[in-house]
Structure formats: C-alpha cells, structure tokens
Symmetry: C2
Subunit: 312 residues, 2 copies
C-alpha cells in the first residue's frame, strides 16, 4: 500500500480476525488500483482517495468469509472482494454529487467532487465501475465462474431491482410517504442487491452447491435490509463524529426511512428478527447434510451479528 | 422496436447493405435495453432516448463486419455490437454533462441532462456501462470468449490509454498547445481505443487467429485516429445542420485539434494516409495465407473508406 493511502478503520466490536481480513482486502485494493503516479495521475489519485477513505469493507468481508467457509482460494476471493468494494465506492462517489445527494463530507473527509472537482469525480466513479469488471475478468478461475460472476454482479447493480434502480427510486420518492413494502423494495435494490451479490459471489467462487446458494441468497437478502435499517437507526441515534458524516441527515433531506415507517424500537426489533432469520439460514444450511455440513460458518455468523449491532 | 424510439439515420454514402446492418443493430439494442415502461421508468426512458438519438453505429458496424468476415455467428456479433454502442452512448451522456463539456444539444436533440435532469443522466450513463458488461456475460459463446471479450473491452474504456483516460487528458489539456504526439496519445485513448476494441471483439467472436488479430489491431488503431481527425475537420468544414451539433465548437472551446497541429489540408492528407495504411493491413492479412485468406474483406474496406469520406 502507498504511504499516502489513509486507511482509517472505524472502531468495531469484531474479533481480531476481521482486522486481518480487512488489511488483506486493503492490500488487494492497493494492488489492483493503478498507482497514484500513473498517467493521467488525477484520475488515479481520485480513485485511490475514495477507496482508501476508511470504509468498513462490509461487502468484501461478506464475500471473503462466505468463500473461505466453502474452501475457495483466498487470492481469488480477495480480488473479487476488491471488485465489489470498487462498485460500492463508485456508487458513493456518484451519489454524493451535487446533482444527487450533494454531500460535501463522508467519513469525515471531503467527498470526491469537493476534493477533485465534479468532472474528475464523475470519471473516477466510471473508472471504478469499469475496473471492477476488469478485475472479475482477470480472476484466476475457470472461465465459467467468471461469466457467472459477471452475471451475478451486473444485474445486482443495474436498473431492475439493482443498485441504480434503487437510487432512481430514492430520488423519485424523496419527500413521499412510503409504506413498508415500497420502502423494502427501494432498499433491497439500492443497498441490498450488492450485499446479497457479495455473499453469492463468495459462494460461487467457493463452488458452493445449488442448495447452499439458495440459502445464502436468502441470507444475503436479509442482511441487505438489516444493513439499511441499522443505517437509518444510526442516523437518528449516533453522533456525527461516530458516523463520520452528518447525523440526522435523513430528516433534513425528508427521506422516508424505516424508523419513520416502523418507529425506532420497531425498526430495531425488525433488524434483530431479520438477523436471526439470516443466522437460521446458515444453521439450516450446515445441518442439511452434503457439502455445506462440513463448513465452519462461525465467522459468517459473527459478521451477521456485527451488521446488526454496529455503532457506525 | 418501440414506436416512440426515434431512429434517425444520418445520410451517408454507404451501400444499402449497411442500412440493413444498422437496422439489425438497432433491433438488437431495442431487444437488449429494458422497455421504457419497465419500473423505474425514468431511467429506462433516458437510456433509450440517448441510444436511439440517431447514432451512425460506427462501432457496432465495425464489430459486425469484422466478425461476419470471419464467419462469426450474427446473433452474437449483434449483441456484442449493441454492448459497444451502449458504452459509446454512456460516454456521450457523461461527456455532455455540465461539469464536463456542458453540451445542450447532440445530433439536433437536447442532451440527456437537459431532457431528464442531471441526476438521471449520470445514472443512465452508469446503467448503460453496467448493461454492456451484462450483455457480454450473456453472449451465447464459449465462456473463454466472454472472458476475453471483457478483457478487451474494459481496459479500452479505462483510465490507462483507454476512453476515460482520454477524457481526463482532454480536460487537463483544454486550452493547451499539444504537439502531434500528445494529440495522438489523447485521441488514441479517448476515441481510438473503443474503435480498435470493436474491431478486436468482432475478430475474437469470429475466432480469427493470432496473426489476423494483430493486423486488425493495427487497422483498428489507424481507424480510431482517422475517425477523430475527420471529426476535427468536419467541425471546421461542415455546417451545424449537417453535424446535428454546433459546428466550430472546437475553436470556441479552445481545443487543440489535428487541424491546429497539421493544418486543414495536412489533416486530410494524414487521414487518407492512415486509411490506406488500414486497408493495406486488410490486404496483407488476406494475402498472408491460412484462415484469413478465405475471408471477404470488401465490406470492411468499404467501412474504412466511409470513415474517412463521411460528411457528418
């Protein structure tokens, strides 16, 4: 990793194992991104700036732990995890733009367009999206697995029930009252689809069988919703310094959130229930016999509990 | 194709064969893009609006004619050609944004952000980029060919000698005097790389052998430069109504162009010389014996001549 890549890891209650995994993911990212002094430098500086702005690496961790549970090769899982983090980062850069959420700070640092200008920010997002697919294409696995990986990732970040579609809904419904079903549709697309895809990519590259994939798909779906509910709750309960971004922003932006639909306590209960449902999928998967009965799902379980209990 | 997709084909001096090919490409695009009434509608309307705004389809034509010359399956070539056109269109939408070139009209129609707003335009570009990779992943060919296709396309539109890198250089050097070598580096990246990739993807999917691929790579490189030189010349010589966009725009934007480096006559001569070089590659390829000696390169040759002699 280059000396000027600030990797600030948020404080979390995860076992030291995950700090090591996060370092490995950061190293993969540092290796796969063009060096900051590669011509034309400005775009590579901007790509690295946002990637190394202190993310929790939730998506690559999910991919890595799922894949390693099934005995997938770490080098491949780390690269695929880096690709997923590139996608997540591109989406943050574009969402922060003045034409979208107009956010000037994220994780306590100026956003890409504030730091590098809007043109470079738009292009840095485009470049991270493009590089993610390039990284998948270069995975050292059987070509069928690469093709399946792109077939999982692309729709998850596309317009129909995918990340871009979710962002479109978010803009469309700003200021509107949404019932729980509409709210879940929005967040399943905007946040959930990439989280679910991360779990599925790990399972794919670990060559999990069809039954396990189905269980993990449901687990990923639940975790995606949990992630968003907890985000909404933290926006109300946490301080700005804990979040590294402006707390209470949802109310200011007139966003309809899970707490506005279910109340604060109801949202927390719902997140707990979904998390237990996700863990139940894991347990049923390992109890179903066959391939999955031999896997150690304890790390994945710990990640599920972290996602619901995190404080930032 | 839906009734409200306006497909206006610019007037060109190509044999009727190419009008048929262009229709087939438009049909593939209409089939592969989500319907305009698919939820969330606004993004799909915006994607279709820019795709069906009357492009010449130069890149998919190059892909299709190269692939068909080698006996590649048309359905596959049409889908890959559509993917390349999605990439081209995404780049136009993002380049037209206020933070970039701030263009309000293209091909005589309001640009995406003027018509749909900036947020939707940014997302429509992102969505076309994403869908292009999804289309490649779904090609009905051996998985190795899909992997190679992504390995050709992604770097061609990336930051190092690719399309995004070229756009970064273009912004960086606005108003600067560039020597011919810098100017060629910029346009090889910004315009040339995707044109060359289109030829290479056709050759790949037609399963051309290594020797042919090398010749076609050089041909694609030359055609990419020709395309840009002719664009620069037309910006001076053609009227706005012929171009469907503001003529004389380069001078207004203080862009350093091939005519400013080589003069108008010098630019035209250079484009002719490059075109003859491209055609020479074709002829040497078919004369080299082996697989390529059996192909009919006459359509490709016609396309080369069209690119240098086009009036819009």
């Amino acid at each position: 990793m280059m000396a000027n890549d600030r990797v600030t890891t948020p404080e979390v209650n995860l076992s030291p194992h995950f700090a090591i995994q996060r370092d490995r993911i950061n190293q993969a990212l540092a290796r796969l991104l063009p060096p900051a002094d590669q011509y034309p430098e400005s775009i590579h500086e901007a790509m690295r700036y946002s990637i190394f702005a202190g993310g929790k690496r939730v998506r690559p961790l999910l991919l890595l732990e799922t894949g390693e549970a099934f005995g997938g090769p770490s080098e491949v899982l780390l690269d695929a995890g880096a690709a997923v983090e590139m996608i997540h980062t591109y989406s943050l850069i574009h969402d922060d733009l003045p034409a979208m959420d107009n956010d000037r700070f994220r994780r306590g640092m100026p956003t890409s367009h504030v730091k590098f200008g809007e043109a470079t920010a738009i292009l840095a997002g485009d470049a991270l999206l493009t590089l993610a697919f390039q990284v998948l294409a270069n995975l050292k696995v059987r070509p069928e697995l690469v093709v399946r990986a792109v077939q999982i990732l692309a729709p998850a970040i596309g317009t129909i029930d995918g990340m871009i579609g979710g962002q479109v809904m978010d803009i469309k419904y700003e200021g509107a009252q949404l019932n729980q079903s509409k709210l879940e549709q929005l967040h399943r697309a905007k946040t959930g689809a990439l989280i679910r895809a991360s779990v599925l990519l790990g399972a794919l590259l670990g060559e999990a069988d069809g039954g396990a994939l189905e269980r993990l798909s449901r687990l990923g779906d639940k975790l995606g919703l949990v992630f968003q509910i907890v985000d909404d709750v933290l926006d109300i309960e946490a301080t700005s310094s804990q979040l590294g971004k402006t707390a209470g922003k949802d109310r200011g932006a007139r966003k309809y959130t899970f707490p506005s639909a279910l109340g604060l306590a109801g949202s927390k209960q719902y997140a707990e229930r979904l998390t237990h449902g996700a863990i139940a999928e894991l347990e049923q998967m390992t109890r179903a016999g066959g391939q999955a009965s031999k896997i150690d799902a304890s790390r994945l379980k710990e990640l599920c509990l972290f996602l619901v209990h995190r404080k930032s």
